[in-house]
Symmetry: D3
Subunit: 250 residues, 6 copies
């Protein structure tokens, strides 16, 4: 594995050159996060920390290339709370397209985006389509495969909505596993807002539903649960990455 932010261009050149014979070394992983409110007990960078950790483990296990994270994403749904910074969807798309094109330009043949934010999904899928349609560059978008099953396996608190993870037991557990110093257990407060029946079918601002920004109950969170969730997602993601590598390398 090579981490671009900490490496020189000569090290990248050497790593990739060997990748022509060894599998994985020309696969790049881009963690695409967000800066958005996660309740009073989790940092604004929660999404970036999570996708950054998953991307790192994927790069490690495939001897791939780890790109530095994008700290900002499309998070209109969390605007309204101080500290949330939302990019336009078109900006998210442009960032992903530009980075993938540049990576393809120096030899990356399997480009993997690890998405950490709900609002990014749409513009990142659009990016992968544009990359394929307009530039012939294949790009895999990974969005925490198997997360719900992994949550069901460890969660003690109910979901605020089916599949919705936001400042709840799951996200709190993951940050406890990644960087516990950034978690404030003294501020844990469960919150189960009433969800509109058409939630997920039109744009809804989370802050209009829950003033605190919490959707669930962080109290049962533990680092061990977080670790098991992360590992489950990584395992599922690895299968996608392997299939993707096979496809692009024929």
């Amino acid at each position: 594995m090579i981490e671009l932010a900490r490496s020189t261009w000569t090290e990248v050149a050497a790593h990739m050159k060997s990748g022509q014979t060894e599998s994985g070394r020309t696969t790049a992983f881009l963690p695409f996060g967000a800066l958005e409110q996660h309740g009073p007990h989790l940092p604004l960078s929660t999404d970036t920390l999570q996708c950054g950790e998953i991307a790192r483990r994927l790069a490690e296990r495939t001897d791939g290339i780890l790109l530095p994270p994008v700290h900002y994403g499309e998070t209109w749904g969390n605007s309204g709370h101080p500290g949330t910074i939302s990019l336009a969807p078109s900006t998210v798309t442009a960032i992903a397209v530009d980075i993938a094109r540049a990576a393809a330009g120096f030899g990356v043949d399997a480009f993997v985006i690890v998405n950490g934010d709900y609002g990014n999904m749409n513009p990142l899928v659009l990016a992968s389509r544009l990359l394929q349609m307009e530039h012939g560059i294949p790009a895999l978008v990974i969005d925490y495969p198997g997360l719900v099953a992994a949550g069901d396996a460890v969660k003690e608190s109910p979901w605020a909505a089916p599949g919705l993870c936001h400042a709840d037991e799951m996200e709190t557990s993951m940050i406890l596993a990644i960087d516990p110093d950034l978690v404030h257990p003294d501020r844990y407060a469960p919150s189960y807002p009433e969800m509109p029946a058409d939630f997920g079918h039109r744009p809804i601002r989370l802050g209009d539903l829950a003033e605190s920004g919490v959707f669930g109950d962080p109290r049962p969170a533990t680092a061990a649960k977080g670790e098991s969730i992360i590992e489950a997602v990584v395992a599922n993601a690895l299968e996608l990455v392997t299939a993707f590598q096979s496809a692009v390398r024929g």
Copy 2:
């Protein structure tokens, strides 16, 4: 000072609320870096590390808001070396505009971009113009004020070109001051390419001028020199920030 990536939204709200009476607390600093080749001895993230450090010190001294860095910039001039990732100029502009607008949306009244990369300058100035013209949001772009004088005060090696800092004694010194583990002194090799007479007046790819990517002599670099350069830039930048704060707060 508050660092957004490590803070919760409630902490941001409290910090800014007090900013209504105390100066500085509604000034935000965005480090805009790049991922680009810096010779065999410096990391690809050199520009991000430098502007991130300067932005941090500015936020500390003004009790301001530190935004997470943008790790990618417009660096076409360094394309051609593996590991360099260049965004389109329009993407750089869009990122800066979106972040500034979102920050203004939750109360930031003085938005400061600390630029770490030559290629970003043009699209960031464009962003500041668009922010003012189209959105009425003032934005200050800081590009290492006083860097040349600071270099002249400590440099032992000659400049590769007037004002050009790239993988030379100055940049190496700054990274030695910021994160010495990322510097490889065993690979120091001076390089003084012949510079075209119209350098700086049209787009020229650095890699076409110097295969190693070095423009100068990293050998006399020391952390102490780097610290003095950084502090000189910070001092000059603080004057601009203070003037800017006065202007926007009438």
Copy 3:
């Protein structure tokens, strides 16, 4: 219910005026289809026919406004077969945004897009986000809710992939229910292509997987099955529409 294509402006005015007191009359339904290959036995307009029928039933049951269908969508995944016409994602987004803005301009307060094509989903969700973020216009995107369960209830043939409906028993049944003259039973031929493990996570062209364009087995298709599938989707969609109407009308 009023069908715009067959009505005069004075009839629309009268219908909507009464809508100020009667529920539903200011809800508009836009069927967004596609012109894409559906094997040798189904017409290129299959998706438009299906979403048009569902939109019509929704308009009838809510006494709403039926807009004429968009016959073209983003269907890059089916390009390669003669007759498939794919719009750029940005064009799909622009069409939906323009129509919704114009409808809002004459009094429509609940705008519902009934999507008939996989490739449209991404650009239509983007449209609904832009409508909300930039214009304050709420828009619901309906994408055959409950389709898989409805299929499981009647299907005799296996799925080609989980949730994938393309020229199979389900789609053939629905067209038999809507316009049987357009179905060619003499050309029914099952096709179960090998699906890549990362299907759905990156752009893949269906034509590269199945030369005939069929994914499943059309042979057990019947109009009765089609009717039951359509009705199940309509019932689920009505719940979303009702919730949406409540939300936008406070």
Copy 4:
């Protein structure tokens, strides 16, 4: 003639394959309509019906390909009446460019747009220019050639303005010829608004000139007149199509 909406991809393939030896089979006709007010007696889809009919006859007589109509166009000039839906000019251009490019992609070599709406003309001509300049795709835009002469030959009522046809004797006659069920003779009411002297030289909203949306006198309309007008336009258009086919096929 092959009508894409009702055909399978295999039928299209067969039709076009034979077109390599027989003239016409690779010429496609796109009716580009609008949804706009046409007074109290004609449907909102009047323009789409008219251009759809003309496109159909052209396809029939050249054994060409009939594309499904675009039901929406740029009709800002008719905004202000409920039911009018106007696309942005750029959206009209994008739709035409995308469809023509996709058609060229599967072998159409002569692409003909049959325009049914005044406001579309500008963006469609722009589309044909962009198709030629940027993609090398020739496209003919047909805008009812010889309409005025055909009208002069049968009209009993005066023109509201030179060449202006809107909900008048001519348009009413054409819809009587195409689909008489959609015409409401009981609501016929002539209207001759005062026209500004600079009409046609700057954007003017028709609704500001005539509250009813009628420009002329529908009372003398007959299906026979409509048929003669349509046939005259088709005859003139056929000459343009023949010349166009000769030009693109050398």
Copy 5:
């Protein structure tokens, strides 16, 4: 009349201030030309000279504001000959929109574009539509009203095609009237290329039809004819301008 290029801002302010009581002083005229081949005997700036002269006379007779000309236009149809410079249609539109918006910003209430180039017409009409639709700014586009009749009154040579003026007796006469030093009578050579039957209905490059770039016969040209053509166009244009001023000033 005030000519902006030769005036100071204080003179403009004074001129316009008086315009609040005297008619015309807040009407601005923008000549929009082109740099394109006009045969071996006329300068590349022919179109700019012609529309500049007409705009000047209109400004003089209405005591209006004369803007400096735009020397470049959309002239793809004349590309292929050295010296022709064609802007993209979108650039022409943007220039006109920006100038009109800026003029409206300092008090111009009637903005008139005098077009001198066939290819500009489409993008300028689009500009006038966007100005009205998006900015509420009325703009009149003048394209040599009555030119054909004026030509028929004086022309001795036949038209190369109905209404087509390019390096022929008419254009040569007008330049003889405006700036005879730029005309080369020794190079006059008639040219009547065969015109395709669909000329004017799709983009056709003039240079593919006539190698010399001439469409007609310059030999009978005289300055007196040019003067009479210009005056006829100016008279017709004045009627449009007067109607436009009445409309915008209520």
Copy 6:
């Protein structure tokens, strides 16, 4: 030297053909000006006159191609005074890109933009980057090289700000040298506004600083000073042009 506006296409063809053996004849110069306030004593076209004169001299001395000037630029900083017309930055970029592409299309191999306006600099540098990155067309942007030194050599009045020339002794001298009829000495009035400390680091409107629009003292201006300034700039620019020609012709 050939001046395109006054030449025929056949003359351009002949000039450039000889340029294949003689240096310079395929170098084109584009003066990019602005229409903006320059105090009560200088015309709105001051910037265009200056860059037009410098471009003319450069074309003369290199036997190059002189393009007609662009009379409009990005001059938001001077908006607020009647007569100032500012283009959007993107429009300035588009104009320069289009013209350079068209010129490259007929054989120009060294494209030089002579900029006359502060606000244009950013969008023109962006244009040169896009021309290089996206089209492989090299473009040199000249922005009065050596102007400050030339001013220091002749100026009698102090600078309003370091390097700032606006309606001062320098600009007045240059217009006295170029077209003295456009200068109004009877209105000379010095003005030394207080400049913000962050001037040049964020967008600031000049009109907010000086009501008259003057920054300095025009009184000591003379045509001789203007001539010496122009000649100094031309000499410096010629060095850049020569280096540029060598680079592109390798």
